[in-house]
């Protein structure tokens, strides 16, 4: 009988001791996994308000002091709280994405509760239900309508709360797998998706109909006239390129970050990038100084001159959010940062 066969005879004990089997330097004590029979008595989830169409021209969100988050959203069930499931042999599930509407409303995709919560000036959030808790991204259209995308299971893009429902299949001849959709974008001409962080594909018009001109454009668009791509060149460089809709380069800029003694820091990952209305762009990167992880935002003005750098608050634990950063219509950078007790929405003015 092999060592592992013997171990499997006693599952409970085996789980506890297997760590010791694998550890090279002394035993690693692992807590046994809890069994599903130990389900706690769970509180009842709050009722979700009836879906309502999202209207434009609402009041603007008040902007707090620079050092304070706009919104602090504790983990929980109630309106204004967000669902959060810590990782245990899975990804940590929590708020996936945020976006800021043309009227200043802030929407957060509360994935665990299969809902979107929308905040406007000093009010309790509007709560809009989603048909599944596998939605990962959301985006406001210029008309104030809110759209949400799910990439797995039944891949689709829906207009949140629309009556009658507006549904767009997450499919395009150039997309391949639906999971290749890396961002949802909504323009005046309807719904677009970003494909593998490279180009954007026009999926539907604003009424979920087939677009008259289903074109593809290089880069990611935003409020202005340009599109932006971002490319990582390890270990220390990233490049941001602003494109015109004709595919011409409007400007390009090299991104580097340095420590206090002017040494280049490695750029570990690109988190978000988007053009600004004034022809510039934001880029959010993950970097590290020694063992210390950092998230940093860089902003370029129109023409590609570096205009601003911002040290962003760090999320705790592995970041499994889909799009936690977004450039708002006011050209500010918004961040949804998950912490141990809450998620916080920050605004960084240009």
């Amino acid at each position: 009988m092999s060592t592992h066969s013997r171990c499997l005879r006693v599952r409970w004990a085996w789980l506890a001791l297997l760590a010791a089997c694998q550890a090279p330097h002394g035993p690693v004590v692992e807590q046994p996994k809890r069994l599903s029979t130990l389900h706690q008595q769970l509180p009842t989830a709050p009722a979700i308000q009836a879906a309502q169409p999202v209207l434009a021209n609402q009041t603007r969100i008040k902007v707090g002091p620079a050092a304070m988050p706009l919104l602090t959203l504790p983990w929980g069930h109630a309106a204004g709280h967000l669902g959060h499931r810590p990782a245990d042999e899975s990804i940590a599930e929590g708020p996936m994405a945020l976006d800021v509407g043309p009227d200043g409303r802030i929407a957060v995709l509360d994935q665990v509760h299969a809902r979107v919560q929308v905040w406007r000036d000093g009010q309790l959030p509007e709560v809009l239900g989603l048909p599944s808790n596998a939605f990962q991204d959301l985006a406001f259209g210029p008309d104030g309508r809110l759209w949400a995308m799910r990439r797995h299971g039944q891949p689709e893009i829906i207009a949140v709360g629309a009556v009658p429902p507006l549904v767009v299949a997450l499919a395009h001849p150039r997309l391949g797998e639906p999971a290749a959709a890396t961002a949802l974008l909504v323009g005046r001409d309807g719904v677009w998706i970003e494909r593998v962080h490279q180009d954007v594909l026009h999926l539907s018009d604003a009424q979920a109909g087939t677009p008259a001109d289903p074109q593809a454009l290089l880069g990611r668009f935003g409020a202005g006239q340009l599109l932006v791509t971002a490319t990582l060149r390890p270990p220390t460089d990233a490049w941001v390129v602003a494109w015109t809709t004709d595919g011409a380069v409007a400007w390009q800029a090299q991104a580097q970050v340095r420590d206090a003694t002017n040494n280049l820091l490695p750029i570990l990952a690109l988190r978000e990038w988007a053009p600004t209305a004034d022809g510039g762009a934001w880029l959010v990167i993950e970097t590290a100084e020694g063992a210390e992880r950092r998230h940093q935002a860089l902003r370029w003005a129109a023409g590609g001159q570096l205009a601003q750098t911002v040290d962003l608050p760090l999320p705790t634990g592995p970041d499994e959010q889909f799009r936690p950063y977004r450039v708002g219509p006011d050209d500010a950078l918004y961040a949804l940062v998950a912490d141990t007790d809450a998620a916080r929405v920050w605004r960084f003015a240009p």
Partner: protein, 580 residues
Amino acid sequence: MKNALILAVTALACALPTAGRAAPPTMTTDAIVELSKYVVGYSYWWGHGRYRTDGKEPGSCKGNCATCGCPQCTHSGAYGADCSGFVAKAWQIPNTIAVTTDAHPYGTIHFIAAGANWNTVAKSAVKRGDSFVYNINGAGHMFIYDSGDPAGSVWAWECKGCSYGCVHDLRTISSDYKAIRRINVVDAPDKDGDGEPDKTDNCQTVKNPGQQDMDKDGKGDACDDDQDGDTVANTKDNCETVKNTDQKNTDGDTMGDACDPDNDNDGVLDAKDNCPVDKNVGQTDLDKDAKGDTCDDDKDGDTVLNTKDNCPEVKNPDQLDANNNGIGDACEGDADKDGVPDKTDNCPSVKNTEQLDMDKNGKGDACDDDADGDTALDVKDNCPGLANAAQTDSDKDGKGDACDPDQDGDGVDDKGAAAVDNCPAVANVGQEDGDGDGVGDACDGDVDGDMVANDPDNCPTTPNADQKDGDGDGTGDACAGDPGDPSAADAQAAAEAAGADAAAAGADTAAPASDTKVAPESTGLGAIDGSVAANPVGTGSTPTASSGCQTGGRAPAWPWAVVLVLSAAVVSRVRRARLA
């Protein structure tokens, strides 16, 4: 007691040297990938690892707690896996086992540490079939790496969680993850060493890690002799990477139209060329419709095609042709080519599309030798753009008063934000104004401001409202140096007394003046302006006040003019009294 014994035995077994255990069997990366693919669509099942190769019975997972993860979740069905259960199954560790058999030999807590069946590898060296894992404070996740840049986005197979199940996902990898590789993995044969196994390589003998295949014919571009699939071999194709079976090449250069940035070779790139396939260096566009005239079948934009247009370059949607000669009325006899037919052109021989005619005499300004119609020919007109028949030019500077901002030429503009000439029609560079009434002495009818006009004033430059003249010689007592008059000191005293009286009189008259709403502009200078207005330039008469000043301060003979000047003097005194 029994449990304690079992634990002790298990512990002893685990403590045996690793070398004593069987190593996992050798696998190819292809085999790992194949086993990974099957998991897609299966449900997340915490603490388990079991799925099928036919996709049947995917099961489902439902979260029961919004602030806690699995195991507080409910799984339904017989198949599913959590992240580590899936990886162990795809890697077939510690031993070969059917994917349909439930097993969960390791958790992320194990994979994150060194193990007998896997090794840590650098993220930059990660290969297909490797895994990424993290575990921090008991919470962890892992997945099988498929492709992509670990520093950017990667494709991965993973049992992601209760909400998503097991998926093939494009995702990012945070810096908390580390890469591990199963031991005893052999790469599939790869002749060209480009990382793509021969079995799936679209160019087996040419290195092409990207596997680009433009025409999707299964043969990679790197080894496809017709990479754009237009049936023209690359070596003969005038657009190797753009499908153009017709090989059309308008400008006859080396590049086909389909990939030529300047198809007509006119030096203007197609993207900005208003005729991309017709040479038109000038880019003329008569109707401004963004289509150059050279390639515009309706140049003048009158909706009639050039070939049928009786005036192709003149907009005439009505196509009127009175004499039926085939040439539209709109362009017939248009000698100056200004688009206006001679019949209606106010300058038939001079191009003047705008047809401006200042004096409305039917002759356009462009050909009218007296454009402003003031009878002075433009070549001699001292204000050619403004009718001024009198051609008055007070300062003789060649610019008529009507259009001269400084008609007396004293260097002080008649109107303006800063200095304003206190005698606009009389040159007075110094702008002297003895009585401070805003009317320069050079044109002031009452220079000393004693309310007695200069002409009857027996002391015109010394205020003496009483006009006392002890010796009756016509020169007031106040005038210094008049023999027979009181001393200058007495005269001064008298003058001051007169001034005080005058001020008192002014104060008395101030109220009525205000009541009549006399604007400041109506004082002094305003009165003169009023006179000018009443005697406009061109009538032949000379402005009253101007003539008074121009004749050395002599008042005009007309009684009404005297009244005007006196009125101005009174108001001036009132102003001074107010200021005081």
